[in-house]
Structures are given as C-alpha cells and as structure tokens.
C-alpha cells in the first residue's frame, strides 16, 4: 500500500478542544498506517482551514484525506469540494464526527479523547480503502408542484409563475385560500384578511403559468429530483368550472341542506355551494357522497332521493317532473313496483325504511289531480325511432327517447297499449283508469302510439325510414304443465284468465277454483278468482311456504281475502268428462337444493289424491310468443330473443330488443330499465357514437349516513280498504297518502347521497355547467421540484374536556370566533351568544392544547397574538369586559409588542394563569346562568372564578390531516408534533433532506401569516435556483449489483423502501435505478447471494473501519 493520508483535526473553537485533547489525538494519528501528515486547526471549515488541506494535496501529493470535526450533515460537502478543488476525487475523503458524537455528549476529557482517537483511527483505516467515484448529473424539469393552496402555497406559486416557470397548484378544498380565507382581521395591523388575500388568490387563478387543481389530491409521487412524476386525483365537482358564472341560481332551487364547513358548521349551505363568495375558482360544486343506495338498488336507476327531497319541500310538481324523466308511467309504478329501493334504504337500520314507492305514488297522483303536466319536450334530434310493443319496456324506451328529443312511434298489436299492465295486473292493484291516464300523458308529450298495429318484420320499419327499432314484445303465453287432461275445458293459463277477468268476460260464481303456482301471478289469479265470486280458491304449490317466490305481503293479503293454500302438492292430471271436474295431485317432499338454491320437490310415491275443481288456472310462468316475420331474429334455446346484455343489440343491425321477450318474465321496473337501456343504445346508434364506451359508469354507493340525533319515527302507512269490502269487487285496495303525511314521510329521508340528484339545478343553470355524471379523474404531471405547503389543522379543543368545548354552546374555538367576527359569517359579523344576546363578559383562554405536556408540548406561536386580536375585536364590537387568561404573552414579531401595549390601554383584563376549568355550576349568585372560568391568578397568588357569557379557546396548531400520508409519499421526516422536518432548523429551514422537495408555511411548524409568506417565497427561491441551474448532481453512493452473482431471487425488490430496483427478465437479474436509490443499503444486507453491494460501503471498507476502532482500543 502506498496511500498518503492527510489527517486534519478541527478544534471547532472550543466546541471540541475543551473536551478532547487534540494534541494527544494528533500524536496518536501520526502513528496510524499510511498517514503522511497530521494537522490541527481552530476552524477547519474556514477558508484558511480548507486552504491548508488543498495545499497539502497539491504539495505533499496526498491521495486520501480525513477531517475530524463535526457532523457530515454540516460540512461533508465543504471538505469534499475542497478535495475536488485540489484535484483529488471527492470520495477519497472521510469525515469523523468528534463533535456531535463525542465532545458534545461527554464530559470526561480523558475518555472523550480516547473515543476521539478511535473515531479518527476508524476514518483513517476506512479511507485507505476508498475508491474514486464519479458523480452523475441529471437534468431538472422546469415545472413545480405545489401541494396546498393556503397563503404559503399561493405566495410560492406566484413567485415561480412570475419568473416564467410553470406551476401546478394542488388544493384539497374547493377553493384556494386556506385558513386565512376564514379569518376576519389579521394581527397586528388589523387589516382585513380577505382584502389582502383575495387579490392574490385571483392573481394565482388568472396567471397563465399556474395550473390550478382544486378539490384534488396528490395521490402518488415517483421519480427523483428534477424528474418527479405525480398523479393528481381530481374529485368531481359536478359543475364545469369554466362554464359556471357563479350566478347562484342553482342554490335557490337546491332542496338539500348541510352544515357549512367554511363557517365551522355554525351555518348551513346547500348541496350545491361554493365555500364563500370570493372563492377561487369562483364556481359552484355539488356535494355528493356517492350514489344513494335507493337509486343504486333500483333497476331503472330512479332518482328516489331527489323526488323525496322535493316532496319534503312541498314542491310536488318538481318531484313529479323528476319522476317523469325517469319513468314513463309514474302512477302505475307507484302502485305496482316491488320497490327494492326500500329494502336498501338506510333509514331501515334506524327504524323503518322510507316509504319510497308510496311517495312516488303521492307525487304522481297529486300531479294528475292538479292537472300538472311534465315539462314539454322539444324535438331536437333528426332521427325517428320505432318501438314495437306498448308494454312497460316499450313505453320506457319511448319516454326516454322523446325526452332526448327524438320522434318515437309505438306499434301496439292490441287494441289498447299497456301490455301486461293492462291485461295481467288485476284491477284492484292497478285500475285501468290510472294506466290510461299515464299513457295519455305520454301521447300528449308527443309520443305516437299506433294500436292494433302488429309488426311482422322489424327490418321493414327500417326501410320505411325509422332510424332504429326497439322490440319490446313481452312474454305473451302462459306456460303449461303438460299434464294429462290439461286441454280440457275449465283449464286456463294465468294470462288468459287474468285478461278475461279484466275484460269482464268471465265470472266464477259458485266455482271451486284451483290456482297452480306460487309466484305473484298466482296470487293475482287467486285473488281475482275470489273477486269473481268463486266459492273456494285454493293455491296448489309444490314447495313449502318459505320457498314461494311471491312477495310475503301478497301471500298475506291473499290469505286475508280467504284464499287457501296447499303446499307440497303438484297436479298430475285433470280429470273430468270433457270438462274439468277434479284435479289429481301428488304430494311432494323437498330434496336437495337445485341450481336456484331452493330445495327440489320430489313426488312421494302413492300419495295421490284428488280435489274438486271447476276451474284450474295454471300460473306457472310465461313464455315468449314470437311468431310471424320475426324468424330472422336469433333466439335462445328457451325461445327468447338473443340480445347483447349491455347494448341490447340483436343480430339485425339497427334492431334492439329488451324486456320480457329477452329475459323471460320479469317485473315492471325491470322492463322500465330495459327500455331505458335500449333508449341509450338507440341514441348512441342514431348519433353515430360507440354503443359501449363509457357506459354503465361505476359510481360508488354512498356510505351509511350518520343517524346521530335522528329521532325514531314510524313510517307512513298507505290507507287500505278493509278486506271485507274488497272481495265483492275490483276496487283498488290501497289509497294515496295525504299531503301532510307525504311531507312528514319525505322528511324521514337521511339523504345518503348528499346531493339528491333532483336535477333542479340543471333546469336552472343557463350556461349548462352542471355535469351530474362527472367522474373522478386522475391526471399525471411531470415536475422538477415540489413545494409542500399543506398547512395546519386546529387542535381539537374537545380533547380537554374540562374546558367544556362541545358541551357548552358558548365555548368557541379560535376559528369559530373568527367566523363570528366575520361580516360574511353566520351572524353577519355580530358577536352574539348562542341565545342571540350580546355578551357582557368574554374570556379568552390562551395555550389551549399548546405548551401542555398532555397534548401539544410545543408553543403554537400564533395564539397569543390572535388572542390579542380577538380581545380587541370583542371589545370594539361588544364593549364587553374581556379577560385574557395567559401563561406568558409571546409578542415576538415586528409590531407585535406594540400591539400588545395598545391592548393594555384598551381596558382589557390580563390574568396570568392557565384556566383550570370552565364550569356552569354556580357557587355565587352572580355566577347564575354564566360560564365560570376558574384559574389561579399567579400574579396575585389567589384562586379566581370569573363569570362570563362567552369563552374563546385559543387552540394550538397541529399538522394538517393527511400529513402522515404525504410523509410516506415524499419520503419526508417529521419533527415534534408531526410537522415536516426541514434539512436544517436554522440554515435550511425550507429545504428537506429529499432533494428537490421544499417546505413552506405551517406544515413545517406553527407559524403566522408573515412567516408563512416568507417561507413560501423562500421555498420558491429554492425551487427556482434548482430549476435555473437545470442540472442536479446525484450522489453516487448507491447500491449496485455484480450481475454474474445475481440469482434473480427478487428479495431485494421486495425490501427496497424506495422502489428503486427493477427486474430485468431477459437477464434474470435485478437492476438498481441509480436515480431513485437513496443508498440505504437494505438490499445489500438482504441479498442472499452477495451480488448486491453499495458504493462507498464495501465490505473491506467497513471491516477496516472496525479494525481502526479496535486498533485504537488496543493502543489505549
């Protein structure tokens, strides 16, 4: 070995030399191997110190340097640069820290000197093994990401934008401005916060170099200094920021109110809102929690929460209009829907679900009674559409297309439209007059319905000039059992039976009727038979009651009306002489579950028996009955039409199909859903758009709303006619609820979705800025530098229960009091107690949470001053006695002491003592009805009780919510309380240990406005200097691989905390991305095959370092 090592021992003034005998260390160092020269100096980091090193390198030909001084964090770069200067590779240098790790932490001079020797020996031995390393330079992009749009972020953004570089400003809230926007006045000058802030906010928004992402959050940051890749999640505002003119018309009509967060929940706002009148961007947004569960559950996606909200506001016509835009036949749906929405209704978990369907019926019937018609429709689209089939699916499609501006013609084969609604649903559930009323309304809206017009060939319609055809043919045929004697007279299919009954072509007086089946149609048939005068009606079902597909309430009603049930029986033959007289049945038992999950019924041998029956109704299902010229349509093996489940396209171009004809018999609301789906497809088809793209957007269902403070209240019951009155005829069983009941019921809604999607704002918005189906969006941007300016959150005063925050309405925190003072706040700037009275005495408690070992150890720095500001404002506005309870007054800033002095002359009381509690329990007569602040007055040395009307808690500052996440995302560190750690508390307060990332404002520590602004500007300067230089020098102390040794086990990839290792599948080795590697060494330690190594931390270097320590230990 021929290394020539120079050893330089720094005294650091007396910082090191007073504890370490430097002369002795020097003598020792001279004895170490390869040491060519040892020098000591008072300040090695000074110019003469550095010159000394440079001179020796040049003149003595040193090829290694050791400096024993302070922490490398402080001066490693200084000495490396000196080596560079003198022509020595900067990595042939080693620093030993004898200040922080030795002289500062020890008091025994002898022991400290011994330790210093060890540290120096370790460095000397290590440096001998150092290898020259080459630094790498990376380009720095010219864009900056600023996270947080408070005053610090705004300041930084403006400074950078002004310099001509691009800024992306990401703000979580709907407006920039941060906390400052909520403030009334600012200390110590008392100028209005809005007056000085809003011009800057506007400037940011208008600046061509600033791209503003409000209501957005940084989701992911990857890359490295100069080349960060950032994913920003833009939450939907549901209002186009560019189109919105902030006229506020939408607010007037919005039926949903929430607490106003901007006013610290002391006032309310609508679901469509903006934070405050000067918000930037000055556009509204809609508060949606997700899809309301009722709407999510509805096959047709009806906006139930919307019409409920409108009914609650007695806006029945608007409610009806909304229903009409979702459904073609609202009064019908309000009667016959099986309302799955109610099963899902969150109110059900508190007491009972909201009677959603009943409310729909109320609004629809109200509209009919009051002659209210839905909004007229304009024909805005060129094409015309043919709908074949006038049942619920066909009419839903027609309604939707007409709403969208198309001309629609419905072809109905029967004499009257309505399909199964007309012929299969009994009159007592759905009077024909109601159906006629709903259908007539559709005709009035411009939908042409041609009855007695069967269509044989859909393609002929296309040739006639219809742009598209929707086939909604239904399922017209009752299924048969195929048993012996089924063709006898007196056996009827369910559909034929119900239709005959509806057309009054049939009576059953004195008959014994048997209905076969257990579904809702069987119940309809049985109950119809009762009304037709049957002597007895029996339902024969092959499974047990639990397996019946009919709704429970249908079964119960049927029983109430006298229908008998025979379970676990199945007909095997119809007996009789030409005409049905008896039905032969077999008893069943339940076996293993079949594919539907229900237990399969099996006949019990020898259990046959017969029943008398004059009429047997087969209610065991329906089939599609497609005949005529439809043979070109592709069919499934069950005979249904084959259609694409998403687009409803058939094998014929331009021909779509849906409803029962495709799915088999289903419910009315499912038919509506199919019709709406077809309309969407036809709209896309006719306007030449893709049939699938962006369809069926996945909107998350809203989380369960809070039921705190909601009183239990029973659900409204529909009026029902007694069963005794029912069976004599076909009178409708249920009635419509009264108006007051409807309003009360509607008010039970918990408003799960936030915005109810009542679409009233859409109607009002002239610039058409509202986009109810907007989705979340993720944008990717690339930046060179990042400034974190995420601010703070106010300490939660309810954590100190003895101050009564949250228990006493007149105990406020600082931000709440700001809003009370603010002209735009809940009281219009009047300071009033919760009873609306002017307070006679006000207490201001300093240091709430701060300087308290139970909560925040630190001083929050702003509370003294804002307390003084409050004291001044309270005095000025109310003339009340104002008491400050303080520990110390910290008025350290420019003009602050003067402000304090001014307050001392404003007749304001200052009591030195931390309040011990705020109580409402009086001890003296003058305390009755007051809040009493109890404290020890430490200047007078007595306990005091001060009765007041209002208490303001000057709560401290904590890091903003989500700061933890950001810490991980940006690999930041935290100091006390969770505030982000700066690179150096004094000399690099806005830099972070991660290159290219800067801090500004209260996220780094509690700070007032002037300090936050200064830091914003400083962080901008830091970012600008990096970007102006355009290149960044990367530390070469990174990990690497000996490719031949790597076995490709990927252990290192899983262990790397910086995701800096990639896998080269071709070579089957792992590869370190040098730009991302932070040199932590985790992969090196975890590599089982010894392929991983780290520059400047090679095994021989570390071994030598240890040997150095041992050598010194031996010498001592």
């Amino acid at each position: 070995m021929s290394e020539k090592i120079g050893v330089y021992l720094c005294h650091c003034g007396t910082n090191i030399s007073q504890t370490v005998d430097i002369a002795e260390v020097a003598r020792f160092a001279e004895t170490l191997p390869n040491v060519a020269v040892v020098r000591e100096y008072k300040y090695m980091c000074s110019n003469p110190g550095q010159e000394m090193i440079k001179k020796d390198i040049r003149e003595l030909g040193l090829d290694r340097v050791v400096v024993s001084s302070c922490s490398p964090l402080l001066h490693e770069e200084t000495f490396r640069a000196a080596c560079d200067d003198a022509g020595l590779n900067r990595f042939l240098f080693q620093m030993s820290n004898v200040r922080e790790q030795c002289s500062w932490v020890h008091s025994d001079r002898k022991k400290a000197t011994e330790k210093a020797k060890k540290l120096v020996a370790a460095a000397v031995m290590r440096v001998a093994k150092h290898e020259p390393l080459e630094v790498r330079k990376v380009p720095v992009r010219n864009e900056t990401l600023i996270i947080g749009g408070g005053i610090a972020g705004i300041e930084a953004a403006l400074k950078i934008a002004e310099s001509g570089k691009k800024v992306y400003l990401v703000e979580r809230d709907s407006t920039i401005g941060g906390h400052m926007a909520k403030f009334d006045k600012t200390f110590p000058t008392l100028d209005c916060a809005a007056c000085i802030l809003t011009p800057k906010m506007v400037q940011v928004a208008d600046h061509p170099n600033v791209e503003l992402y409000t209501y957005s959050e940084v989701e992911e940051v990857s890359g490295y200094v100069g080349n960060f890749k950032v994913k920003v999640r833009k939450r939907p505002r549901y209002v186009d920021v560019v189109k919105c003119t902030a006229c506020g018309e939408c607010v007037e009509v919005c039926p949903i109110e929430f607490k106003n967060e901007f006013d610290e929940n002391m006032s309310t706002r609508k679901a469509i809102f903006r934070a405050f009148p000067q918000a930037v961007p000055n556009a509204f947004l809609i508060d949606k929690k997700g899809k309301a569960p009722c709407r999510a559950e509805c096959p047709a996606g009806v906006h139930a929460q919307g019409y409920i909200a409108l009914i609650a506001q007695r806006r029945y016509a608007d409610a009806f209009d909304l229903i009409m835009s979702d459904l073609p036949l609202p009064s019908v749906c309000g009667r016959v829907c099986y309302h799955p929405c109610e099963e899902r209704c969150e109110r059900g978990s508190l007491d009972e679900p909201v009677a959603i369907n009943t409310l729909k019926r109320f609004a629809s019937d109200w509209a009919a009674e009051n002659g209210v018609e839905p909004a007229p429709r304009k024909r805005t689209k060129e094409g015309k559409v043919a709908v074949v089939g006038g049942g619920p699916a066909g009419l839903a499609c027609a309604n939707e297309l007409s709403k969208r501006g198309y001309a629609v013609t419905v072809f109905e084969a029967n004499e009257k439209p309505g399909g199964m609604l007309r012929y299969a649903i009994p009159e007592y559930r759905l009077p024909a007059s109601v159906l006629d009323r709903d259908i007539e309304r559709l005709e009035k809206l411009g939908i042409e319905i041609r009855t007695s017009s069967p269509v044989d060939d859909p393609e002929a319609l296309l040739r006639e000039g219809y742009g598209g055809v929707f086939l909604a043919l239904g399922a017209q045929k009752s299924s048969s059992m195929g048993i012996e004697g089924e063709d006898k007279e007196g056996v009827m299919g369910m559909l034929e039976f119900l239709r005959a009954a509806k057309e009054k072509k049939l009576t059953c007086i004195g008959w014994k009727v048997a209905v076969v089946g257990g579904g809702n149609s069987a119940m309809d048939a049985a109950r119809t038979a009762v009304r037709l005068g049957a002597e007895s009606v029996q339902v024969l079902y092959r499974r047990s009651r639990a397996e019946m597909p009919a709704h429970d309430w249908e079964v119960e009603e049927a029983e109430r009306e006298g229908v008998l049930f025979k379970f676990l029986v199945s007909p095997v033959a119809v007996l009789g002489d030409g005409k049905a007289e008896k039905v032969k049945c077999v008893r069943m038992r339940l076996g293993e579950p079949d594919e539907s999950g229900r237990r399969r019924p099996e006949p019990i041998e020898g259990s046959e028996f017969t029943l008398d029956a004059d009429l047997i109704v087969m209610a065991i299902g329906q089939q599609t009955d497609i005949a005529g010229g439809m043979e070109k349509l592709k069919r499934s093996k069950w005979g249904t039409i084959e259609a694409d489940p998403v687009t409803l396209e058939t094998n014929l171009k331009g021909v779509f199909a849906g409803g029962d004809a495709v799915t088999g018999a289903a419910t009315v609301v499912e038919a509506f859903a199919a019709g709406k789906r077809a309309a969407e497809s036809l709209d896309r088809y006719l306007s030449g758009k893709d049939l699938r793209e962006g369809r069926d957007k996945e909107i998350p269902v809203a989380p369960s709303p809070s039921t705190e403070g909601v009183k239990k209240e029973p659900r409204v019951r529909e009026p029902v006619i007694p069963s005794i009155d029912r069976v004599g005829g076909f009178r409708e069983i249920t009635g419509t609820i009264a108006e007051e009941d409807a309003v009360r019921e509607a008010l039970r809604c918990l408003r799960c979705g936030g915005c109810s999607e009542c679409m009233e704002c859409v109607k009002k918005c002239e610039p058409e800025a509202i986009i109810h189906d907007q989705l979340e969006e993720t944008v990717e941007i690339e930046v060179g530098t990042i400034i974190v300016a995420t601010g703070y959150r106010l300490f939660d005063s309810s954590r100190i229960p003895q101050y009564g925050y949250g228990r006493f309405p007149d105990v406020y925190n600082g931000l709440e009091f700001e809003r009370l003072c603010h002209a735009g706040g809940p009281t219009g700037g009047k300071i009033l107690t919760s009873k609306g009275e002017k307070p006679e005495a006000i207490a201001i408690l300093h240091c709430v949470g701060s300087r308290d070992e139970n909560y925040l150890d630190y001083c929050s720095r702003v509370c003294c001053m804002y307390s003084l500001k409050f004291a001044h404002l309270a005095k000025e506005k109310t003339g009340a006695k104002v008491y400050n309870f303080y520990i110390d007054i910290r008025a350290f800033g420019k003009g602050y002491e003067e402000f304090y002095k001014r307050l001392l002359n404003e007749d304001i009381y200052f009591i030195r003592g931390k309040a011990s509690e705020v109580t409402a329990v009086p001890e003296y007569p003058e305390e009755e009805g007051k809040l009493v602040v109890v404290c020890e007055d430490t200047l007078l040395g007595i306990n005091r009780r001060v009765p007041v009307d209002m208490v303001i808690l000057s709560a401290g500052m904590e890091p903003a919510e989500g700061a933890d996440e950001l810490t991980r995302m940006l690999s930041l560190s935290c100091t006390y309380g969770g505030f982000f750690m700066e690179k150096h508390p004094k000399l690099a307060p806005v830099d972070t240990p991660t290159d290219g990332i800067f801090l500004a404002g209260a996220c780094q520590g509690p700070k007032d406005i002037p300090d936050a602004v200064s830091q914003g500007a400083a962080a901008a300067a830091g970012a600008l200097s990096l970007m102006d230089k355009g290149v960044f020098v990367l530390e070469p102390v990174t990990a690497d691989r000996v490719e031949e040794l790597c076995s490709g086990c990927k252990v290192c990839i899983a262990n790397c905390p910086y995701s800096a290792i990639e896998f080269d599948a071709e070579k089957n080795v792992s590869v370190v991305v040098k730009e991302l590697c932070k040199g932590c060494g985790t992969c090196v330690a975890s590599c089982p095959s010894g392929a991983a190594f780290q520059e400047n931390f090679a095994d021989d270097q570390i071994v030598n370092e240890i040997e150095g320590i041992l050598l010194a230990a031996k010498g001592a």
Partner: protein, 295 residues
C-alpha cells in the same frame, strides 16, 4: 368465546370493614362477568393517608410490599379503591423513574426477603371493565336494564390522577359508558371529578361538608335519581353526612348513593344480599326495590 380473564385483586383496608359492601358487590359482579380475581396473599395497607405526609418513604415501602406480592402472579393488579389505586400507581411510577429511591426501597424489601422488579400493572376495576371487557361483554349479562334511570357518575379526584397509563384525567367517561351499557342514562354531572373532601371530614369538617354539599347539590340539580361512586372514602363522605350537609347548605341534599358495582349487580339480576345493600346508609330502596327485579 370468553377470553381468559385473570387478575390479581387488592381489596385494601377499608373494604374489609367500613366498606364491606363494595368488596362483596365487586366479587359477585366479577363472578358474573367471568373475571377471575385472585386476592393477593398477606397484603397490607397501601400506604395512603396518614403515612404519606409523615413518613413518605415508609409509605412507599408499604405500597411496594403489596406490589412485590402481586408480582408473583404476573397478572394485572385490580383495586376498586381509588385511594389504593392512586397510591399503588404513584409508588410504581416513582420507583420506575427514580433509580435512587428504587434501590433504597428494594433494599428495604430485601431485608424482608422480598423484591420488586417493577412488572406490576395497577388497574382500577372500572378501567378493566371498560377497557378490557368492553360494551358487548357487559351488555350480555344485563337482565334488569336500568331502563333510562338517570345516574350521576361520581369519580372523585383520585381516579383521574395522571400517574400514567390512562387517558382520562379531568373529565373521565368510563362510568358514563358503563351506565349506558346497563341501560341507564349518565347525568351530565359537571362536578363528577371534584374532591369529596376526603379525610378533611375528620380534621376540617366545615370545609369538607361544604365540598360534599356542592357535589350532592349538583347531582340533584342534574336530575339524577342516585349517585354511583367508585371509591370507599367518597362513598362514606357522600352518603354519611347528608343530614348535616342539608342543614349547612340550607336545602335538602339527600340522594341515594351506591357503588357502581352495586348498580351493575342490580342490572345483572343479583339479589340484595349479593350486593350487601343493607349496608347502604341512604334510601337505596327507592333506586332498586321499587323498580323491582325481572329475575
């Protein structure tokens, strides 16, 4: 599945004589909940009250001797007396923080062939119920719901002392929760952690009667039908002087006072004997007997 719930139990002197009913009701309630409480052997006074101001170190030795015995069991040590709780906890804290004191006390223990390594966790029964067991475990055993009975939860000043380990100091909520779980309604009781007067009742009765009076009056004004306590001394002060207090305050301050364990026992369907209700000095019949038991 009930988790295994084993603890050591330190009753303390007052529970042996004057406050027997607290001990009895505690043991019976624990039995219902499946809490196994092994009374530590040969325990002595916790070192409270008189020792403290006179011979501080001796009081630590007394306390440490109990901790030393409890350490043999390697389970948490339960006490129901807030005085014992505070003293044991304080001793444990001081011994862990002050090396010099620790060595001195350990030396004293070693004289008697004992030692203390600082491994015992001192717990108040109330804290065990609310933290270790929790709502479901308690609710499951309620057969006699308190049915909205308004109870003033009185914690006294010792339960909340900040000797570490707990998060409720000034305004505890543990008993409030417990009352809710039993079907009752905790009264909003601002003076719930104010001092009852403690031993001043014997040395400075004027002052103590005043302190007790404020508490009783406040509980009544909150609409409570009874006060629940969690400390034997508080219980005595609140129930034992109501006549004198009423005279002094110039208004009727009488209100039934029970241990929270008696309230629990009632809700669990235990009988008057199992809760030693005959020891109560106030009209507890108005709380319990009139409501009847559903068991």
């Amino acid at each position: 599945m009930e988790a295994e719930r084993k603890y050591s139990y330190y009753p303390g002197c007052s529970l042996m004589v004057t406050n027997r009913s607290y001990d009895i009701s505690t043991r019976n309630v624990a039995a219902v909940l499946g809490i196994e409480m092994a009374e530590i052997e040969d325990w002595n006074c916790c070192g409270a009250t008189a020792y403290y101001p006179v011979r501080e170190k001796r009081s630590y030795v007394l306390s440490a001797r109990n901790l030393s015995i409890a350490e043999r069991n390697s389970t948490d040590l339960i006490t129901v007396c807030s005085g014992c709780y505070a003293v044991l906890k304080k001793t444990d804290k001081y011994l862990s923080e002050d090396e010099e004191l620790r060595e001195e006390i350990r030396a004293a223990l070693r004289e008697g062939g004992m030692d203390y390594e600082g491994k015992v966790k001192v717990r108040h029964f109330l804290e065990v119920l609310t933290k270790d067991l929790g709502e479901e475990a308690v609710r499951r055993h309620v057969v006699n719901s308190l049915d909205g009975m308004k109870v003033a939860p009185y914690y006294g000043c010792l339960f909340g002392r900040p000797f570490g380990g707990r998060d409720e100091f000034e305004f505890p909520e543990a008993m409030d929760d417990l009352i809710r779980w039993l079907g009752g309604e905790p009264a909003p009781f601002p003076l719930k952690s104010k001092c009852c007067g403690g031993m001043l009742m014997t040395t400075q009765p004027d002052m103590a009667l005043n302190m007790t009076g404020k508490i009783l009056r406040n509980a009544k004004s909150c609409g409570a039908v009874c006060i629940a306590t969690c400390c034997p001394l508080c219980q005595i002060n609140l129930e034992g002087y109501q006549g004198k207090v009423s005279k002094r305050m110039g208004s009727d301050c009488s209100i039934p006072v029970v241990y929270f364990t008696q309230l629990m026992g009632y809700a669990f369907g235990l009988d008057a004997e199992q809760l030693a209700l005959k020891d109560c000095l106030t009209d507890v019949d108005s709380v319990f007997a009139q409501r009847g038991s559903k068991r």
